[in-house]
């Protein structure tokens, strides 16, 4: 009896605690906030914070203020699942996040079970939206589109014969490398296909082997710390093949790690420059005055937050199912332009282009 009473008291305490929080709407942000990819996590946080500040200054949504719950998944899939559970228990109505596909995919199970929408600004692995969850959305493009563009560029523009393909064994890196290889489609020889370990610092062994096969281009599926070291060490071994990588590499730190001279001429697949988009003008000004230089994914995080919040306003509820259906039906007019989601939760159009590293900066270079 005593125990039951105590239990009841506890329950009532907890529910009082919950009720007090009901006058805000919580949205979750998840990404690598610490560790070697912390920069990407920060970009997410800044992008979402900016959107939320703008909404809050106009009175929030559904008459309530919006509050952000930031979670650090440390780009570790296990940690991602655990922070996902924590955010669901915290009562978030939707989650903007996970940067790494290897985190978003397992975490999406948790959100799906809880029935809350997940909008990822940066996970590009196709599997994420191929699982048949209707509450998973992706603002960025997919690796198969990205790999296709990279292959197209190598075949049509560079007209190369021999390439080497490396990846970092992550869902994102290997996925991208495999898609690239698939779309080369026998038109270009893959003289070497292999992997490195994420977090490793010495790649001279594998680069010496690659150099021995004399490729004209090395394609790397992975993230900027390893990409930077790969380029630097390749040049030290006087392996002077062209270097190409995906959107995970497009970060100023890549140039800093590789050294401007070594990074020069590296090709990268990425979405078009927001600076050339009229719709993104306001966002760019506000973001720069608030946080400084724009990160590659800042605009996606900002837009993901805007999508979630406008859907809440339109649906007039934070109930997961209705919210998901609303996102599927709506057309959003956001910084990236007008976008819609298809049945799987991918954006209906996702134009990837080729960027190049030039004089220590990234710029748009080629589009098909």
């Amino acid at each position: 009896m005593k125990r039951t009473l105590l239990f009841l008291m506890l329950i009532s305490l907890i529910s009082i605690g919950c009720q007090k929080k009901q006058d805000v709407i919580k949205i979750g942000i998840a990404g690598p906030m610490t560790g070697d990819q912390a920069k990407m996590g920060m970009d997410f946080k800044n992008g979402v914070s900016l959107a939320v500040e703008e909404w809050n200054s106009q009175g929030g949504v559904l008459g309530k203020k919006i509050e952000i719950v930031v979670s650090d998944d440390q780009h570790d899939p296990k940690q991602a699942v655990s922070v996902a559970n924590k955010m669901v228990n915290d009562g978030v109505v939707g989650v903007i996040g996970h940067f790494n596909s290897s985190c978003s995919i397992p975490a999406s199970d948790v959100y799906n079970r809880a029935g809350i929408p997940l909008i990822t600004p940066g996970s590009t692995n196709p599997q994420l939206t191929e699982k048949g969850y209707k509450d998973v959305f992706r603002v960025c493009g997919r690796d198969d589109q990205q790999g296709r563009i990279a292959a197209l560029f190598v075949i049509q523009q560079l007209k190369l014969k021999n390439v080497a393909v490396l990846h970092d064994k992550t869902t994102y890196g290997q996925g991208l490398a495999d898609e690239f290889k698939k779309f080369l489609d026998g038109k270009v020889n893959v003289v070497y296909y292999g992997s490195i370990v994420q977090g490793d610092k010495d790649f001279k062994t594998v680069l010496t082997t690659v150099g021995n096969k004399d490729p004209e281009l090395v394609f790397f599926g992975g993230i900027y710390p390893e990409a930077g070291l790969l380029v630097k060490q390749a040049r030290e071994l006087s392996l002077n093949a062209k270097f190409m990588s995906g959107d995970g590499t497009i970060d100023p730190k890549f140039i800093e790690i590789a050294g401007a001279a070594q990074a020069e001429g590296t090709f990268l697949t990425f979405s078009p420059d927001p600076k050339n988009m009229p719709s993104a003008k306001g966002f760019i000004e506000n973001y720069q005055s608030r946080f400084g230089e724009i990160g590659p994914y800042s605009i996606y995080a900002y837009d993901a937050a805007n999508i979630l919040l406008s859907a809440i306003r339109k649906a007039n509820t934070t109930e997961g199912n209705t919210l998901t259906d609303t996102i599927h039906m709506m057309e959003f007019d956001i910084a990236l332009g007008k976008i819609r989601f298809d049945k799987k939760g991918d954006v209906t159009e996702s134009p990837y282009v080729i960027w190049i590293t030039k004089n220590g900066k990234f710029e748009e270079y080629w589009k098909p």
Binding site: D202, K204, G259
Partner: protein, 300 residues
């Protein structure tokens, strides 16, 4: 290609060897596996970046690069040595007569503390050591080598030769060997054990600082958890060579580097880390004391 991989492995191995020496020396004397040693190496890299940044800011680098680099090295070594010294006094000395497991757990605690301390004070993001020499190097017999790579190998070899000379020929070295053999007897003949242990920590930490700084310059990328991986590798090297033996630590380190690089190139680079540990298992099965373990009388 074989020669090139040999050089790649040798560079990697020299660094492992320098760190492994610290593990082996401490184990030889205290029979303690100092898990915080990898963190001293990480601190060496951080001190390097901090002091070099400082010298660049006050214009010393522009005035004379060699002077700035030399000062950076000296200061990093001094700071790391004092860290090593303090860690021993705070975390290990009070436990000297405790069961063997206690100082080991204390060492793991220090390691976790230092990692988090650096993460919180320096931030979790990668720090970049300014590229000083670019990719400058030379070609010799189909081997492409940077000057930095060459200096890592040369500096490591010189340091190891000096250490061997110190342990074998000097009075302090003799005292260290005596303490390693029998602490009680050594104190009975008038050797101050505390001093010997402190000197061991100072030297081991100084070597780790040099390794850390050279690696920071070579790869150009430093973060708070580099000590963990390097520590595990160096520990493996020390065990491979026979923990407690100086010669074993040197050869174990270089062997480890070579196996990683040659295995990575001739079998498959995906399982690079596995080769080192397969080798370790084989050696321990055949010769449980490590390559130079029991057979070596001179144990420090």
């Amino acid at each position: 290609m074989f020669l090139q991989q040999l050089i790649n492995g040798l560079t990697l191995g020299s660094v492992y060897a320098l760190i492994a020496l610290g593990y082996s020396m401490v184990y030889g004397i205290l029979e303690l596996i100092n898990f915080a040693h990898g963190e001293i190496y990480m601190l060496g890299a951080y001190f390097g970046i901090i002091f070099f940044g400082l010298f660049t800011a006050i214009g010393l680098t522009a005035f004379s690069l060699p002077l700035a680099l030399a000062l950076t090295f000296v200061l990093s070594i001094m700071f790391c040595a004092s860290y090593g010294f303090t860690i021993e006094k705070i975390a290990y000395k009070p436990l000297r007569n405790a069961p063997r497991l206690s100082p080991l757990i204390s060492a793991i605690g220090v390691s976790i503390f230092l990692q988090n301390f650096v993460m919180l004070t320096q931030g979790a993001t990668d720090k970049v050591f300014p590229p000083l020499f670019g990719t400058a190097g030379f070609r010799f017999l189909s081997v492409q080598m940077t000057y930095l790579q060459l200096s890592i190998i040369v500096v490591s070899v010189i340091l190891m030769v000096c250490l061997r000379f110190f342990v074998r020929k000097t009075r302090m070295g003799k005292a260290m060997r005596a303490v390693a053999q029998d602490k009680v007897m050594a104190s009975l003949v008038g050797i101050n054990i505390d001093t010997v242990i402190s000197v061991t920590f100072l030297i081991g930490s100084g070597l780790a600082a040099i390794a850390g700084l050279m690696v920071a310059m070579y790869y150009g990328l430093v973060n708070y958890f580099i000590g963990y991986v390097a520590g595990i590798k160096a520990f493996t090297a020390a065990v491979l060579g026979g923990i407690g033996s100086i010669r074993g630590a040197m050869l174990g380190g270089i062997l480890l580097g070579l196996v990683e690089s040659l295995g990575g190139s001739y079998i498959s680079s995906e399982y690079k880390d596995a080769y080192a540990f397969i080798l370790l298992i084989i050696v321990l099965l055949v010769k449980p004391g490590g390559l130079f373990g029991k057979a070596e009388l001179e144990k420090v």
